[in-house]
Symmetry: C2
Subunit: 345 residues, 2 copies
């Protein structure tokens, strides 16, 4: 099969990989239809974070081709969403709902597991990992939203859930990348009344508004903090969602977080620190991390299929598999918020 291969910093190619086949009775082989490029892939591409050489990509949807004898929840021909991490569903962490921290799991496209930026993926623990999409004739827009549900929508949702967003809240989303934009959707979905999106990009500002943002904050750093504190009567927001992972974004989130609130953080940390004085003297908590996507997918999928949320709108660029390097470059150059990759049909 053809698959995207990571060859080191700056080195993304498409080449041949062995066709995957069932190895364990709990495996399934999925033919990938749509994949995409994640912000975290860019950290590897830039050489900031390490990644095993070989297959890459962890967000995809596809059609089941083969299933092992023990697989009962999906059949060949089923359309499925894969969470970005596979999980056994039975370990202590999975049983506690932390499927992204499965003791026997891992991320697709790493450590020898097939990547979602290739034609086929052998999915371990297929019953516990894959979520079947009910049969139907779905539009391309819905299909894109299903890809978004494999990671970014779950991750934005995790920021909101971690911060405890509840009906009536005032929420600020720090970061206007695909995850931040999905966090706007998530905040709205959980009932937030006022949603501030920190963005200075007109295209993303418009999408944030479409997703439910009531206020766009173009300021950054201390200016953003001052403005938001003024907008909230000096109290700060009920929930600050940190969707970037830099020092400035973390400082901003803590700077605008109301006493007793929780910063929901999902950005992969790069040179960021937690202001412990704010934690202790303002009682501002911190929760978040790798989203338990498998746990979240069923409810988010349902909202997608009923047209209540449209996270696929974050895709503003697309390529085929052979041109995937262009997708990486478009995101690196900030020509794209998030790039879809059409791999199969």
């Amino acid at each position: 099969m053809r698959a995207t291969l990571y060859g080191g910093p700056g080195d993304i190619t498409v080449g041949e990989r062995p066709d995957p086949h069932l190895e364990k009775p709990t495996d399934a082989v999925v033919r990938v239809t749509l994949g995409c490029v994640c912000g975290s892939d860019l950290w590897y591409y830039r050489g900031v974070n390490p990644h095993a050489l070989g297959p890459i990509g962890h967000e995809f949807i596809g059609v089941v081709e083969q299933v092992g004898v023990d697989v009962t929840t999906v059949r060949p021909g089923d359309l499925v969403v894969a969470p970005f991490t596979f999980c056994d569903g039975t370990c202590a962490n999975c049983r506690a709902g932390w499927t992204g921290n499965c003791l026997n799991g891992g991320s697709f496209g790493n450590h020898g597991v097939d990547g979602g930026q290739g034609e086929y993926v052998k999915v371990p623990y297929a019953d516990a990992t894959l979520v079947k999409v009910p049969s139907g004739d779905y539009s391309d827009a819905v299909m894109k939203s299903l890809v978004a549900v494999s990671d970014v929508m779950c991750t934005g949702h995790h920021a909101a859930v971690s911060a405890g967003v509840k009906p009536g809240d005032t929420v600020a989303v720090v970061g206007d990348g695909a995850v931040g934009l999905c966090a706007v959707i998530a905040a709205k979905r959980l009932g937030a009344e006022r949603i501030m999106s920190l963005s200075r990009n007109p295209v993303r500002q418009a999408l944030a508004r479409e997703f439910g943002a009531t206020d766009i904050i173009a300021e950054r750093g201390d200016d953003a903090i001052k403005l938001i504190m003024n907008m909230t009567g000096g109290l700060g927001v009920d929930a600050a969602l940190e969707c970037v992972g830099t020092g400035q974004s973390m400082a901003t989130a803590f700077g605008i977080a109301r006493v007793g609130s929780i910063v929901g953080a999902v950005g992969v940390p790069h040179d960021s620190t937690v202001p412990l004085q704010t934690v202790i003297f303002h009682n501002v908590g911190l929760r978040g991390g790798v989203a338990p996507a498998r746990r979240y997918i069923p409810e988010l999928l349902d909202d997608v299929l009923h047209g209540r949320i449209n996270p696929g709108r974050v895709f503003d660029y697309e390529t085929g598999l052979d041109d995937i390097k262009d997708a990486y470059d478009a995101m690196i150059d900030r020509r794209a918020t998030k790039a879809l990759v059409r791999i199969g049909v």
Copy 2:
């Protein structure tokens, strides 16, 4: 009146201060019967943290002497517990339950407000701040527990509440000071089944066991982490309570925290940092801070009066007001876990 005066690092004396009098209709004047020395007082005494020159001390119980015309919940002659911070009960933070972060409040014994290590205290917002103890003939042991409820018991409780301790949990308490010991009480009170107390002091180990600790961990740092991970089947504890505030204690708490759990931190931070990689990749949260003591006191007071908890057992040293410097020194020299100061009757 006579009161303890902070004159700078190492300078604790007892001197004369003007007798407090009612200034506002919401004030009360309380005659202090029992006070004590807090671990945070030692940071001032050591010169590590700043403190205004003048009165000091924020933990006390006493008898109401006078009340302003607007005060309705306490009367002269009432025995009262003062939370370590006063609060108006009406600001946005108080209404949200964060009484220790009252927008018009502050800490006793700071910024010109009388300290609890003196004969009298003018208490602002008496209705919102003070908690009346039902009339009764209480033992000295109960009285000591009431003093503990003014701060350390609430602070230990806040660590446990912040970490979300629930029935059946395995909890580790990092720190065997008065707050850590009270956190053991709090964990037990909230239903923890297994409580590990990190302590290498035989006296404190014995008290931790008396309070409900099921395991004593004498190891520190990486050795403690290894041991506790082994004791929990490699998973870590359901709740790690950080009751010290140093870099090592924070690292230990995060090192033993189970995926998806929350570190409950109440130690005043000194050179400690939050391991963000653990937050993000293990989904370990952080909550805690200055305890909302006024919110917690009623329920803890009830438990004290019914003999269900005995936090006053943390006092293992006592002096009169005139000898209070000895109380500071005993704690500095670690001859005392926590020193009671008998000020009036």
